[in-house]
């Protein structure tokens, strides 16, 4: 199947880039950068910088987003820069912004082209020119007929939706027939947004020494080096806003975040890396932090490293949750939301439980707050023992 050049310019992450623009796709990165920056690179520099600046300012769109061959260059340069910057926070910010820009472009796309994009990604998708009906929702006098022009093979659906753990995306809550999920254009665009986000998303930073060696060569290209420095300077100005410590003192002055169970630690580390959280993760972490008496401002500041952070909105939601005194999810609920991290972290207390002296038996952990209580109790006992030891040693 041949895809239009314009589509690849619009969406440079498509596999057909290699076929339609072999001169760009197969070029060694250093040669590519040398070529691009040897002849009037000002426009490219500005377009790349716009992406970085926007992502550092928590913007969700790019003004004056252009679709031309230079858009391919911008995409490749961003990827190279992210590799050289080797910073998870920056990569994840760009991943979120670039994917959101992609979503807003895809949603405007013609159905037939959206189908071409999916086929180029080797997705098993069916396209119907006349939409097919898969249900009706009636509430009182209002009737919503559910139509779709697309069906996607369930394994492709699961792969794309894997990181989006919202309840409404779960397979069981979707119309599935003959192996294909009925899917609306909006949902396909959202799944592709996630696919694009994953392309930029940096799970672990690269080996520093190999990046440094490569960086030296790249930064010798004057204009590219200038661009790199401008990005870094911008980041230096902005990053303070995102770097908050997770060390939060409890009433007795100790840092209780060390006593958190894996489910809470996992979400906190996602926040720290600037990853997006799903709805249930956001609710859970806010309710937990409120339950263990974190200050509202501290919670808001924690969220500030997230890509879609909005201080006013966050403040309203945190204050509302505090007023309502919601109880955080228990372990069984977390398991059903796939948010239990006991196995991933191989956490002994979560997996095997603890021995209750009071009840003289092994008990299972059923709530993350019980975990914190137990850990605090153990830490308190340990401190007491070491204090006594200290006193004995001094006697």
């Amino acid at each position: 199947m041949s895809i239009r050049h314009e589509l690849v310019q619009h969406y440079p992450w498509l596999p057909s880039l290699e076929k339609l623009y072999p001169d760009i796709a197969s070029k060694a990165p250093i040669l590519f950068i040398t070529d691009i920056f040897s002849s009037n690179p000002i426009e490219i520099q500005e377009r790349v910088l716009t992406f970085f600046k926007a992502s550092f300012s928590n913007l969700e769109q790019i003004d004056d987003y252009k679709i031309d061959e230079k858009n391919i260059h911008v995409y490749i340069i961003i990827k190279i820069l992210l590799y050289l910057l080797n910073d998870k926070s920056i990569s994840n910010r760009i991943a979120n912004l670039y994917s959101k820009v992609t979503y807003s472009e895809l949603i405007k796309e013609d159905d037939a082209y959206l189908y071409d994009i999916c086929k180029d990604l080797n997705l098993d998708i069916l396209y119907y020119q006349d939409p097919i009906k898969y249900g009706t929702i009636i509430t009182k006098d209002q009737q919503e007929n559910l139509y779709s022009n697309f069906r996607i093979y369930y394994t492709d659906y699961l792969k794309l939706a894997g990181n989006l753990r919202d309840e409404f995306r779960q397979l069981i809550n979707n119309p599935l027939s003959e192996g294909y999920v009925f899917i609306q254009k909006r949902s396909i665009s959202r799944l592709l947004q996630e696919f694009v986000r994953e392309k930029f998303f940096l799970k672990a930073e690269y080996d520093k020494s190999s990046v440094e060696a490569l960086k030296e060569n790249f930064l010798k290209i004057k204009e590219f080096g200038e661009l790199y420095e401008r990005i870094l300077a911008n980041w230096e100005l902005k990053k303070e806003d995102f770097e908050y410590s997770f060390e939060i003192k409890a009433t007795d002055g100790s840092d209780i975040s060390t006593n958190f169970p894996p489910c809470i630690k996992e979400i906190l580390s996602k926040i720290q890396e600037g990853q997006n959280l799903i709805h249930n993760e956001r609710l859970f972490i806010v309710w937990v932090l409120i339950a263990v008496n974190y200050q509202v401002d501290t919670i808001i500041n924690l969220f500030s490293s997230m890509p879609d952070f909005n201080r006013e909105r966050t403040a309203y939601q945190v204050n509302y949750a505090k007023k309502k005194k919601y109880i955080p999810y228990k372990c069984s609920t977390l398991k059903s939301f796939d948010l239990c991290m006991a196995k991933k972290y191989k956490d002994e207390i979560c997996l095997k439980g603890y021995f209750s002296i009071k009840q003289n038996e092994q008990k299972n952990i059923t709530h993350p707050l019980s975990y914190i209580n137990i850990m605090q109790y153990r830490a308190h006992k340990k401190n007491k023992v070491s204090k006594n030891q200290h006193i004995r040693n001094n006697e």
């Binding site: 249900g135 009706t136 394994t155 492709d156 119309p175």
Partner: protein
């Protein structure tokens, strides 16, 4: 000669005599093999065989108590630790074990005793020991036609109600096996399914069992004191629920229906309301464009409780970790089960429909390989 040595010899003889009957499973060379010997209760893992003859020779030499191969395909199945094996993909496995079903026949052939106080009982063990309130039990279980039939019907239900209509597979896409003891395995060796992560497999399991269903997302609404339910034309689980409800309401006697509602945990008033309104409700759900569900005393929460129980009736009872795990070993077809001495027997879907492991007329499919001569 000790009992275990005697059994080992019998197994060795079986593998020697039946060497030409041991089937070679797909991608044989890429599978990891594991064995449990007679003299110790440990799994010896990370074996790999280039061909079926080598596996057969191993079985004749060692006559292991249990024989397993991986559902997973690896580049180097023999390497350790697991990360060094080179993961290629994993078949999708469904394990149905009668252990999970509370069948009346268990009172005839299963026993339990409390590990703490020694209290004994028949059937499934209780949640807590009635004498000491502890919850650790030892079980002694056996099988009968009745419970094996339940396991078989569960596999048939999975195939007919889910895997064929919803997932688009054909009858010939399944490899089914009687496990040699208390149930059946079903394997799908589809390349696209093989590439799915554990998380994605969990979603398939949820779909097959009905776990994590959201009635609100599927269309259940409350609007100014009225409850609006699903329509039968809504593809997926809403349709399954309504068809099941229709089936229950059309085909159950009042006593059967009452018992079902008791099983659902509904209180007397709610049950009475439902029994009084059931005919109107049946008419509503049978019509294509009516979804105003009116049953007095049924709040949104009551509907959700009621529907959750209906979902349990529809969903399959499977051993979930088996389907989710991507490094699972399962019994090798044609091998012997060390607890029963029965053969693990592969079956086609057609063969399954008439299959009775304890009374199998077709000698090739008969899992009982050791028989006393009359």
């Amino acid at each position: 000669m000790s009992e275990k040595n005697y059994l080992k010899r019998i197994f060795q003889v079986y593998y020697k005599e039946k060497r030409s009957f041991l089937p070679k499973i797909n991608s044989f060379e890429n599978r990891e093999f594991g064995f449990i010997p007679w003299n110790q209760q440990i799994m010896i893992r990370h074996y790999n065989f280039d061909n079926i003859r080598n596996l057969n020779n191993y079985l004749i030499r060692d006559g292991p108590r249990h024989v397993y191969s991986s559902a997973t395909l690896y580049i180097n199945p023999y390497k350790t630790p697991m990360d060094n094996k080179g993961y290629l993909g994993c078949d999708f496995i469904i394990d149905i074990d009668v252990d999970h079903f509370d069948t009346p026949c268990k009172d005839d052939h299963d026993l339990w005793y409390c590990k703490d106080c020694g209290k004994e009982g028949k059937g499934m063990p209780p949640k807590k020991c009635p004498t000491c309130s502890k919850s650790k039990f030892k079980r002694v279980s056996w099988i009968c036609d009745h419970c094996l039939n339940i396991a078989k019907n569960e596999i048939i239900k999975l195939i007919k109600n889910f895997l064929i209509p919803d997932f688009g597979y054909k009858e010939t896409d399944f490899i089914i096996a009687f496990s040699g003891h208390r149930g059946y395995h079903l394997k799908v060796e589809d390349d696209r399914m093989r590439q799915l992560s554990s998380e994605s497999r969990r979603e398939i399991v949820d779909y097959l069992t009905g776990h994590n269903i959201s009635f609100e997302i599927l269309g259940l609404r409350k609007f100014s004191q009225n409850i609006y339910g699903f329509l039968k034309e809504n593809i997926g689980w809403p349709q399954k629920i309504l068809l099941k409800l229709e089936d229950i309401l059309k085909n159950s006697s009042p006593i059967e229906l009452e018992n079902l509602l008791i099983k659902f945990g509904l209180n007397k008033n709610i049950r009475k309301s439902f029994m009084n309104s059931k005919d109107d409700f049946l008419e509503t759900i049978s019509k294509s464009k009516r979804n105003l569900w009116i049953i007095p005393n049924f709040s949104l929460e009551t509907w959700k409780t009621f529907l959750s129980e209906v979902v349990k009736e529809i969903g399959a009872e499977i051993d979930q970790p088996v389907s989710i795990d991507v490094h699972r070993l399962i019994r090798y077809p044609g091998s012997l089960h060390g607890k029963t001495g029965f053969k693990v027997q592969e079956l086609t879907f057609q063969e399954l429909e008439t299959y009775n492991p304890l009374n199998q007329s077709d000698g090739v499919l008969d899992p009982i390989v050791f028989k006393s001569e009359n």
